[in-house]
């Protein structure tokens, strides 16, 4: 079964990319943690900042851990993911929007 071994070099990332991803993730976790624990910003700004950090970390993992850029084309997996994220956004934002008027 050794014929598979030459397979991995070109499409599964390298140690370097994992280490970069790991470091970036740690940084992007620590920043919001420090901001929140020390109440360093006004509330709305804080919520937006930590959400942006979370999304950034998601992007980092997507590129450095899940190797979204690699793999054969057409990239059906990326297309599915993008569509899925649009729908997740719709579910969350839509629910909040519709239910905002139903709090009692």
């Amino acid at each position: 079964m050794t014929q598979h071994q030459n397979h991995g070099d070109h499409n599964h990332g390298s140690l370097k990319s994992y280490v970069i991803g790991f470091i970036l993730s740690i940084v992007l976790t620590i920043i919001p943690l420090v901001l929140v624990m020390n109440q360093m910003m006004e509330k709305t700004a804080l919520v937006i900042t930590i959400m942006v950090m979370a999304i950034l970390q998601f992007v980092v993992q997507l590129f450095f851990f899940m190797h979204i850029r690699e793999g054969e084309k057409p990239r059906y997996n990326v297309q599915t993911l993008i569509l899925g994220l649009v729908i997740v956004f719709t579910i969350v934002a839509g629910s909040i929007w519709i239910m905002m008027f139903n709090k009692y």
């Binding site: 719709t90 839509g94 629910s95 929007w97 519709i98 008027f101 139903n102």
Partner: protein, 656 residues
């Protein structure tokens, strides 16, 4: 001891209604008859090897089809019972509770256990053949999907004789569906029947997306793919995004009932409106999930029976994809009257109306395909032609409902009932029937009898209008849905009686169709050519019924409607046959794990329905063991040798 058993049985089994006792007896008799026949003719082994453990998409498709026809029967009987009860004012044919249970099971069964499996049946029977594949991408998963659906459906139907039926409407809105108002197992049957079959539906969605994207015959680019396969892709995309929402929503409802959670309760910070919001995020895509494949069927049928290429292929694809995405942005129109801000209502009213545009494009394309075509009015085409005016009216009343201010008048009236039956029967049922008549010869090797089919067709169609047109008027006259009876003073009696007559005409149409199938098994016209309709796509290039490996050699596709082009080339004498090079065919092995694992899921559902946690635990362990065993199986496929392929083809009249 004996007293205990008696007491248990009196709550466990549904008692007290002669209709139910009749059903009990007929169920027991049917089971005994099946067991007797299987034992007498020594068919148990055959049943297990050829059907229960099969991973062949065609056989799975046939099993879906049979189950869905049985469910159509049950849902149809529910409908007729309701119409009988409403035929005259102040009738005491059904009690209020019984009526509530029946409209609940009618709706749930027709959408989830009739339309969905019939659709999956068509997916399975057609898609791999149409794209030139040997099977679906994941045959084992496909079998698992079927058995999850089947056992989910059985669990749901069991509520009829054990424990009591759900009776909180087909979508089980809280607070009515909560413990306070629906104690007892009925509502849990609803939750677990749908939950289990829903997992199967999700898996089917994934399976067909991968099949269509990755397993098309060489040369068949997406822009040359037949429209039915496109419609399946569109529908599957909606399935994978919509069904997880359903899974979560009814799981939360179950947590409310089982664990005392406060998602949709009236107290403890719960909010029943959130349930409406979530369930319709699934529910609206769901209706497009079932109707879009019907659009695909009409596109195939219209092109074949008009003997023309489909008009506006690209706009058809575009329209189906737009419908798939847009379906996720309209859900709130199902509860305009719930009370929310004007901007929410305006947004969802407009997004709903926008859907009419791609749908309109499709209708025009079908009409233009027929225009100046040489139309032959065979059964599939009849249903297609009947569909167009029916769906048009249903769509137009849909736009009326989308006008939010007016919706405050129509909401939950019989106007709404008439609207959605018109799109679901006129669109989905007519479409699937057209598809069944069209592809039947490919699966079974014979056509369904034309004459009996026409009787069925006319009874269905005339019956449909007699049944549902009066309901629009009844809606305007103030009759709302789910009334179990009404008084003489309302002035509704004439139209209700007419409506009931129409419903029974549809029932007669169904009986003609059952007769047609049984008659045609013996007397139906045999299909010896493999291409009985002179059709256009790849599935008609192979013999009927299709051999288990589908294609002896994988077809090389050069253009859209490739089989038509091949036939034209043969007629012109310009056809250059490719050299046939047979290779061993790679096939999946049968497996008993899907049915066993689904049975454990059934135990989970049954246990949690009655609150018997021990039984659910056994079920969960069983499911885990099945998955573990499957993960350790590596010997899951085999090769069909060239000789066997050659022999099979020869027996079907093809020389290679």
């Amino acid at each position: 001891m004996w007293e205990d058993i008696k007491e248990f049985a009196s709550t466990f089994f549904v008692t007290g209604d002669p209709l139910i006792y009749g059903a009990d007896v007929s169920i027991v008799l049917t089971i005994l008859a099946i067991v007797f026949v299987l034992t007498k003719y020594k068919k148990w082994g055959w049943l297990w090897r050829e059907w229960l453990t099969t991973v062949d998409h065609k056989r799975i498709g046939i099993m879906y089809l049979i189950s869905s026809l049985l469910m159509l029967f049950r849902g149809g009987v529910d409908a007729l019972l309701m119409r009988l009860q409403l035929a005259f004012p102040n009738l005491e044919f059904l009690h209020a509770d019984h009526y509530n249970a029946i409209f609940t099971t009618h709706g749930t069964i027709m959408i989830l256990f009739m339309a969905m499996p019939m659709m999956f049946g068509l997916f399975n029977m057609v898609v791999p053949l149409q794209i030139g594949a040997r099977d679906v991408a994941f045959p084992f998963l496909n079998a698992l999907s079927f058995w999850l659906f089947f056992l989910g459906a059985m669990l749901f139907n069991l509520s009829f004789v054990i424990g009591g039926s759900p009776d909180a409407g087909w979508l089980s809105y809280p607070p009515l569906s909560q413990n306070d108002f629906s104690p007892g197992p009925g509502q849990n049957f609803w939750i677990w029947g749908i939950q289990i079959s829903g997992i199967g539906s999700l898996a089917t969605g994934i399976n067909f997306i991968v099949t269509i994207l990755k397993m098309r015959a060489p040369g068949m680019t997406l822009s040359k793919m037949p429209l039915f396969s496109w419609s399946v892709l569109s529908s599957s995309i909606m399935i994978i995004f919509a069904f997880p929402i359903l899974t979560v929503t009814i799981a939360l409802l179950f947590l409310d009932r089982f664990a005392g959670a406060h998602f949709f309760t009236m107290d403890g910070g719960g909010n029943p409106m959130m349930y409406l919001n979530l369930i319709w995020m699934w529910g609206h895509p769901e209706v497009y999930i079932v109707v879009v494949p019907a659009f695909g069927i009409f596109s195939e049928v219209v092109a074949t029976f008009s003997r023309k290429r489909i008009f506006g292929y690209k706009s058809m694809v575009w329209a189906m994809m737009v419908i798939a995405i847009a379906s996720f942005f309209t859900w709130a129109h199902h509860f305009f009257t719930m009370g929310t801000s004007a901007s929410v209502i305006a947004f969802f009213a407009i997004s709903t109306m926008v859907i009419a545009i791609p749908t309109g494009v499709k209708v025009f394309n079908w009409l233009f395909t027929m225009f100046r075509g040489r139309i032959s009015f065979k059964q599939p085409m009849l249903w297609t032609i009947a569909f167009i005016p029916c769906f048009l009216v249903g769509g137009a009343t849909g736009v009326m409902l989308a006008v939010a201010p007016a919706d405050y008048q129509y909401h939950n009236s019989y106007f709404l009932i008439a609207h959605f039956h018109q799109v679901l029967i006129g669109g989905v049922v007519f479409g699937y029937l057209a598809g069944i008549y069209y592809w039947w010869p490919k699966l079974f090797g014979f056509k369904l009898d034309e004459k009996l089919g026409r009787w069925g067709f006319w009874f269905w169609n005339i019956g449909f209008y007699i049944c549902f047109m009066p309901q629009y008027a009844l809606g305007f006259m103030g009759m709302t849905r789910r009334y179990y009876t009404y008084g003489w003073d309302r002035g509704w009696e004439d139209l209700n009686l007419v409506s009931t007559v129409g419903a029974f005409m549809m029932g007669i149409g169904f009986i003609f169709q059952v007769w047609q199938i049984t008659y045609s098994i013996k007397h139906g016209e045999r299909d010896t050519t493999g291409d009985p309709w002179d059709a256009r796509t790849l599935e008609w290039s192979i013999p009927s019924p299709a051999p288990f490996y589908n294609f002896a050699t994988v077809p090389q596709v050069k253009e859209a409607d490739d089989w038509w082009a091949t036939k034209q080339a043969k007629a012109n004498g310009t056809y250059k046959p490719e050299p046939v090079h047979l290779e061993p065919i790679h096939m999946p092995k049968n497996s008993g794990i899907p049915i066993v694992m689904s049975t454990f899921w059934f135990l989970i559902g049954f246990g949690l329905t009655f609150g018997w946690v021990w039984m659910a635990v056994i079920g969960f362990i069983g499911v885990a063991v099945c998955m573990w065993v499957r993960s350790f199986q590596y010997d899951t496929d085999y090769y069909v040798p060239v000789d066997e392929v050659r022999r099979t083809e020869a027996s079907l009249g093809r020389v290679l």
